[in-house]
Symmetry: C2
Subunit: 204 residues, 2 copies
């Protein structure tokens, strides 16, 4: 059975849990303490040289990291990864956009503002305006796309939607206001109405 | 013919040029002035809503952004993207690693230290230690992998190697010393010995 090394409050881990549930793939879940920085320990590094959560481990010991690579691995051959070449590239375009232009601001703001003791946020407080400016720029790109399309790629629900849903739907935790993005709001509801959808459960 | 909207000194653009050349795919190259911030103009945004360079445009007007999604689109079905499911996921793992843990430090240090007038670097000078620490962490992850493998995924040269080569081979421009990473150094030579290899040409 696939083992998912998981952080319950991480959107990157949630993406993988959501997909596994929607695909009805059984998995064993091992919780990792991100805030206690368990990912930096030698024991963790020995298992996963990339030092990240989430990662998955197969029965034969092979390990795969990077949430969006895991999504692709699990979903390839299912309707959640399009078969057509251009649509596949569009899925990847939006997943790379998510990791480069969205997660580093929207997830990072959520982590520091929503999940970290105030005294640890303090030395980073001057970064909040940049997180919000760049996160809002990413939300603007999504809004422009979603004003004209129901889904991100291939005209249907795919792992590109799962990847972007992970941190968009809980962006308010990082101080983002989604009201100026009505098409994003409608799309969030569309994702949550998909068969097998499960909400992000916070660890506390 | 594919049109590549390109920035000559960008490693992300270079990755696509290198692949197109190795695949012997003819392309038209349109140079974009990144330092003059042409990517932010309305004319540019109208063509490419993601506001990034590089992007490619097909004859029918379809546009694809994100360098690593472009690599996948161009190389899928060739030996540069493995056919086997696990190896494909490994390619993507390393390409997401590159965009999340490598490029934001190694490429960003190169841009600001190597390509920007000193007075524009000044307000960001305090970020240099973080760029170097996180960039060296990424190089360490690569070194650990390359000490035991010739290539990043699937046991052969792939677009994962091209993606990581883009900014690793010119990391010195951003003040990185590659001497502590001998396996990385050997791999750089291995990439440069591939058929059809072309070096990054700087615009000046």
């Amino acid at each position: 059975m696939i083992r998912l090394y998981n952080c319950e409050d991480s959107g990157n881990s949630y993406k993988v849990r959501l997909l596994l549930t929607q695909l009805q793939v059984p998995f064993e879940r091992i919780d990792i303490d991100l805030i206690g920085r368990e990912t930096g320990t030698p024991r963790f590094r020995a298992r996963n040289p990339l030092g990240q959560t989430p990662f998955v481990e197969l029965d034969d010991g092979r390990v795969l990291a990077e949430s969006n690579a895991i999504l692709w691995y699990l979903a390839e051959g299912t309707p959640l990864v399009p078969a057509e070449r251009w649509a596949r590239a569009e899925v990847l375009q939006w997943m790379f956009f998510e990791q480069y232009s969205h997660e580093p601001y929207i997830a990072v703001a959520r982590f520091w503002i929503g999940f970290t003791p105030q005294e640890r946020l303090e030395p980073r407080r001057h970064l909040i305006p940049e997180w919000h400016a760049k996160g809002n720029a990413a939300l603007g790109v999504m809004e422009t796309h979603l004003a004209r399309h129901d889904w991100f790629a291939g005209g249907r629900y795919s792992i590109a939607d799962i990847a972007l849903y992970g941190y968009t739907h809980c962006a308010a935790d990082g101080g983002f206001d989604l009201a100026p993005y009505p098409a994003v709001g409608t799309w969030l509801k569309r994702v949550a109405a998909q068969p097998g959808y499960v909400p992000l459960e916070l660890a506390w």
